[in-house]
Amino acid sequence: MSKPKVGIFGLTGCAGDQLAILNCEDRLLDLVALIDICDFSMASSHPQRDCALDIAMVEGAVLTMRDARQLRAIRQRSATLVALGTCAVWGGVAAMDRGLDRAKLLEEVYGERGKEYDSCAAQALHEIVKVDHNITGCPIEKEHFLSAVAALLNGDPPLYPEYPVCTECRMRENNCLLIERGEVCCGPITAAGCDARCPQLRIPCVGCRGPVTDANTASALAMFEEKGFDRQRIAARLRTFAPVGVGP
């Protein structure tokens, strides 16, 4: 049986999810024994640009017309499309405050030339094409990438925690930064899967994995308000990494 054909792509972003794949140092050679990575520009100078793909993994957000064209072309040639990382799933940091006047910002940064650049407000992949699976995280956990590949090779959907960071944090028996220290911790509404990495280090969660399924944002906001935090500021913080997912 021929190996499944896989493409790994980066739209606009920091390439951190592709790097997380390359960071699977001990498994990389096992991985290429199982799948045929036939289009991965960050790692290979001879990509097969036209072949049909069984699985496409796409990181980054759509920030240019070029990104949008590339994403549509990837969708067209791929049986399964996986959004890789918070930018692809939720828009990520480039999408925060996307209501701001982009043309004005571009001009402020690049002067008159700014008008000539190919640029649009950041969008998550699902706003442009159909996405089959999401692996969130900024960056993704490399173990999640490996388990997703394993699941997809078996014909199963990749599954991830449907509970908040708080659950993992309690299991690690940390003191609560929000309740006990009055810090703005986004743990109550952020998707778990990081093993509460930040609160474990006494650092409040910044919400980099995006909201948990059925996040009770209203109740979290009420809790923050009860602690005396300004509602607007908190809402802005919750939207930093997941601007597309969280309502106003």
Partner: protein, 430 residues
């Protein structure tokens, strides 16, 4: 007129290409095209509180996320007049070494090496010759382990905050790290053997200006605030606060990266520049290795940056061992980050990211909210120099064979180890 176009430069981070226009035998135009989308993160951090800035701006780039994060913290601390503890300085320097080891190993073995050995990728190379790829992966993993142990995560570190760290690493983990680093010392010899065995890359010669952080007494990527620019024996010093004199920049139509010059001349930053500006580092083992690599400084060949990265790779391992030795001797303390008292003002910081000089500068209001942010990245600083070296390589290719030129220009671009996600972030806010 004929044109050579490389649509998508592969085996680099981000989205870039190369265009060369020839008129007869004359090189009319060369361009390093950058078509990375502008994320405009710097204007987007305006209004954010000081503790939100580093986590947002580290997202400029994954490969240099430690450098972005720690340079951001240093700029904020400078703005607020915070002096971090000696332990914090050592731990941050150690994170820089971890990032440099990971980044250089990734670049040398997985991105650059396939060119020298005529393979499209390290994956294809590994099928025939696994040893060099496994060596690179081993070193890369070690660099990541340092970043994970100190920073809490290999990409986008979480543990470093304004004023210090969330938690200091446990002694046992530092001891484990030390034994992994000691094993890597032997790998250092294999790195030099391998790089010394590669075919010569003798197709681009040019007088080159070099700029790097100057550290007269200390081998450092993080501490210090003076940049030295070296050209043909001439030296100039630029202070962190005057960093704008390094960035006589202009926006160019083919690129979302602005181009920088120093007094009108392009300059190179990165490993080769660091060794040129701080030659005193090159003693003992490094001097022997340098001879084996046939590297002479100042170099007139940008491809020598690969050799300089190999030398830094072994130096970084030794420097990391020294730092861990000192931390263990002094005893690691469970320090809390220094409490922050925001105040209005501006702070700038310069460090050495794996690809060269990185500058962050912020202005804060008296509540500790950003009113202006400015980030100058190594690849943006290098962009003009990359084009200059493209031009020289085309001029020096006697028969103007298109395939040969295309191959050489891609190798030059990769030797700079460009990070194009970073390059678009040369931004000034008023």
């Amino acid at each position: 007129m004929s044109t050579i176009v490389i649509e998508h430069l592969a085996r680099v981070e981000g989205h870039g290409g190369i265009t060369v226009e020839l008129e007869g035998d004359t090189v009319a135009n060369v361009r390093f095209d950058v078509f990375e989308g502008a994320r405009l993160l710097e204007p987007l951090v305006r209004g954010k509180r000081y503790d939100e800035v580093a986590p947002i701006l580290s997202r400029i780039c994954s490969i240099c996320s430690v450098a972005h994060s720690l340079t951001s913290l240093k700029a904020t601390e400078n703005a607020f007049g915070i002096r971090v503890s000696p332990q914090t300085e050592l731990l941050r320097e150690l994170m820089f070494r971890g990032e440099s080891i990971e980044s250089h190993a990734l670049h040398l073995f997985l991105l650059a090496l396939p060119d020298y050995l005529n393979y499209p990728s390290a994956i294809a190379l590994a099928a025939d010759k696994p040893a060099p790829v496994l060596l690179g992966l081993r070193l890369k993993k070690l660099g990541n382990r340092i970043q994970e142990t100190i920073g809490g995560r290999a990409i986008h570190p979480v543990n470093a905050v304004v004023g210090g760290f969330g938690k200091a690493p446990p002694v046992e983990e530092l001891i484990e790290l030390r034994s992994s680093l000691m094993q890597a010392v032997a790998d250092g010899d294999s790195v030099i053997d391998l790089i010394a065995s590669l075919p010569a890359t003798d197709f681009c010669h040019s007088d080159t200006l070099y700029a790097a952080l100057r550290s007269p007494n200390l081998d450092t990527y993080y501490t210090g605030d003076e940049v030295m620019v070296v050209s043909n024996g001439n030296r100039a010093i630029v202070n962190a606060a005057d960093y704008r004199s390094l960035t006589g920049e202009k926006a160019v139509p083919h690129s979302t990266a602005k181009h920088s010059t120093f007094r009108g001349s392009p300059f190179m930053v990165g490993s080769l520049a660091r060794l040129t500006v701080n030659p005193r580092r090159l003693m003992g083992k490094l001097a022997v290795a340098m001879k084996r690599l046939k590297l002479q400084l100042p170099a007139d060949n940008p491809m020598d940056n690969n050799k300089a990265q190999a030398l830094e790779l072994i130096n970084d391992v030794e420097r990391a061992l020294e730092i861990i030795g000192q931390l263990l001797r002094d005893g690691i303390k469970d320090e809390r980050a220094i409490p922050v008292q925001p105040r209005a003002g501006t702070g700038a910081a310069i460090t050495e990211a794996p690809r060269g000089l990185l500058i962050h500068s912020y202005t804060y209001d008296d509540e500790g909210r950003v009113t202006a942010a400015d980030v100058v990245t190594p690849t943006a600083l290098n962009a003009a120099s990359i084009e200059l070296h493209f031009r020289r390589a085309v001029e020096q290719c006697a028969d103007r064979d298109e395939a040969v030129i295309a191959r050489r220009l891609q190798m030059i671009a990769r030797a700079y180890d460009p990070c194009i996600s970073c390059a678009v972030h040369l931004v000034r806010m008023r």
